[in-house]
């Protein structure tokens, strides 16, 4: 995990994944349940974040 944190793509992916979880939880917990924008943006951020974490450059090391 620590080694992965040295990878900038992983860090960026992790950041957007965490933000997407906050956005989606905010909707699920009902505080602002009518917000489609949070759902769409949260889903897009999650896809982007996971893609950045999983599709890393081979031997990139950055």
């Amino acid at each position: 995990m620590l080694k992965k944190l040295n990878d900038l793509q992983f860090v960026i992916g992790l950041f957007f994944s965490v933000v997407s979880v906050i956005l989606l939880l905010n909707v699920l917990l009902g505080n602002h349940g009518d917000s489609n924008l949070n759902i769409y943006t949260g889903t897009c951020f999650l896809v982007f974040g996971l893609a950045m974490m999983l599709i890393r450059g081979k031997g990139n090391g950055q």
């Binding site: 960026i12 950041f15 924008l37 769409y40 450059g57 950055q62």
Partner: protein
């Protein structure tokens, strides 16, 4: 506008990540070169995004949205005329000298090519400019947060400056560059939903064209006469003033952006950095110009039912700088509102960190090591670099407070920066492509260019500014005045450098190898595939840029 728990949580997560990046980079910092130049080890995709992100500060994001609302689609000229051509030129022609000379900074290149006095003039003016720019960025952040969120001015200043200080102090340039990439994605992805829903609300581009005056949706059509377009510019002054002098002066010589290309792993990547960066730069008007055009459209009578309006200033006129914050407040609910505010904070911090890291490199290498303490251990310069980072941020904080007390200092500093930057490209152009150019020529050319800029501003008046010597000539817009000042300063620098060079002794050819075009071995690209070669890539980008100009003519 008021934030809720989810919004604050997103801002907090962002702060944790940027500081975390600093801690992760810290253990890789072993030498002054690691700290101040990243030891030329950064991959191409990071240098390219950092190259564009270093220019994606708050003045860019908020300023261009404001300009989009005020001037319409003509604002794209700052991208499609005032950036892409210069970025391609930098990649193809100038990077081989910056990177190949092994100079650690732009002023150091001037030292190798010309002499110490030219380096000193450039280094000192650049160091002063960057540290004050950083302070103005900090002031603007605190002022904006005070206005829209009612946050305490002092807390905003100290918290944001403290965070930038932590991650730049720990990880130096690499940390700043890594965070710039994170900030790039945050700004683009954080503002994209705003553009989509606001565009939908405005009825799409066709409806915008139908509702606005035609000069707001045509980039070139009304530039034949300066009185026919909202910027008050003739197309020739735009092409020469912005497209040549200011654009090339900034993108090809400003160490803040050039530094991002100079830390690439090899010459090929260094050359490709500005060219790859030109791709997102070309698309950036979608994020920073279109929202402004949408905002002014939403205020047309047919769309008043949407309930959006740009706030007004104390004088009753529209406060265009509030266009982006007001759009965010209007469209973003809790949650994504936190993302939007974080994107704004990121743009301020990106601009500040970029200035601070460029400042500490130039101060340490080009001022401290060159003029004060030579031949010390590498650890000494590493400690100095770290100390300068702290001092730079403290000066930024002082500048922010001065700006708070004296509003006019912002305008004054921008003006002085313009005087210094305007003529700079002439020095580099002659230095790189005319081996006869001498150190005396370059120095006096810079002095003459800066003086010409000040005098031109002193005898012209636009929107109540300038004319402090004698108001001899009136120009319709401040932007037009800036272009004319830059163009005249460039011309004075160019011809003064040539004249003084012709009457002074040039350096021998042996000392100019790798520094001047005619004496440097040209990079060989033919082994690479076409999409890795800078010339075909650059030509392709220029063709797309010209096409975009025709589409929105």
């Amino acid at each position: 506008m008021s934030l809720h728990f989810a919004d604050y949580l997103i801002i907090l997560v962002y702060f944790i990540f940027v500081i975390g990046v600093g801690f992760l980079i810290k253990k890789k910092i072993k030498s002054s070169n690691d700290f101040l130049t990243s030891s030329r080890s950064i991959p191409l995709w990071i240098t390219s995004l950092a190259f564009i992100s270093a220019n994606l500060g708050a003045q860019e994001v908020i300023g261009m949205v404001a300009s989009g609302a005020k001037y319409g689609i003509m604002t794209v000229h700052f991208y499609w005329v005032g950036a892409i051509f210069a970025m391609v030129f930098l990649g193809v022609f100038m990077m081989p000298f910056y990177y190949g000379s092994r100079a650690r900074s732009v002023p150091e290149y001037l030292s190798l090519r010309f002499d110490e006095k030219t380096r000193g003039l450039n280094a000192i003016s650049f160091a002063v400019m960057t540290v004050f720019s950083s302070g103005i960025s900090l002031y603007a952040l605190a002022k904006l947060m005070e206005t829209i969120l009612h946050w305490d001015f002092d807390i905003s200043i100290w918290v944001s400056a403290g965070i930038v200080m932590v991650y730049t102090f720990l990880g130096g340039l690499t940390s700043a560059v890594y965070n710039e990439v994170l900030q790039f994605f945050l700004i683009v992805l954080g503002l994209s939903p705003l553009v989509i829903i606001a565009l939908q609300d405005a009825g799409g581009w066709d409806n915008i064209k139908a509702l606005l005056q035609p000069e707001m949706t045509h980039a070139w059509k009304y530039m034949g006469n300066a009185n026919d377009n909202p910027m008050g510019l003739h197309f020739m002054s735009l092409i020469f003033g912005l497209g040549f002098v200011m654009s090339f002066g900034y993108w090809c010589t400003d160490f803040l952006v050039v530094q991002r290309a100079m830390i690439a792993k090899n010459m090929g990547d260094a050359q490709r950095t500005p060219i790859i960066a030109a791709i997102p730069k070309m698309m950036m008007p979608l994020i920073v110009v279109l929202p402004g055009i949408i905002a002014i459209t939403l205020m047309q009578p047919a769309l008043l039912s949407k309930g959006y309006h740009i706030p007004t200033a104390a004088n009753g006129e529209l406060d265009y700088t509030m266009t982006l914050p007001s759009l965010i407040a209007h469209y973003y609910p809790t949650g994504i509102l936190g993302v939007g505010i974080t994107a704004l904070i990121a743009s301020f911090m990106s601009g500040m960190a970029g200035n601070v890291t460029a400042f500490n490199s130039v101060f340490t290498f080009d001022i401290y090591q060159s003029y004060f303490v030579k031949n010390k251990s590498d650890r000494h310069y590493l400690l100095v670099g770290k100390g300068v980072t702290v001092v730079g941020i403290l000066i930024s904080i002082v500048t922010a407070y001065i700006a708070k007390s004296f509003n006019n200092i912002n305008d004054f500093l921008q003006l002085v920066f313009g005087f210094v930057n305007g003529p700079l490209f002439a020095t580099f152009l002659l230095g790189m492509f005319w081996k006869r150019a001498t150190g005396h020529g370059a120095f006096w050319g810079l002095v003459a260019g800066t003086a010409a800029a000040a005098i031109t501003h002193g005898v012209t008046v636009a929107e109540g500014k300038g004319g402090w010597i004698a108001p001899l000539y009136t120009i319709k817009s401040g932007m037009g005045q800036a272009f004319i000042v830059a163009a005249i300063s460039w011309i004075f620098n160019f011809f003064t450098t040539i004249f003084v060079s012709l009457v002074t002794k040039p350096k021998p050819d042996e000392q100019l190898k790798g520094l001047v075009y005619s004496l440097t071995e040209k990079p060989k690209y033919h082994q690479q595939k076409w999409y890795l070669r800078v010339v075909p890539l650059g030509l392709l980008l220029l063709a797309i840029t010209i096409l975009l100009n025709f589409i929105f003519f």
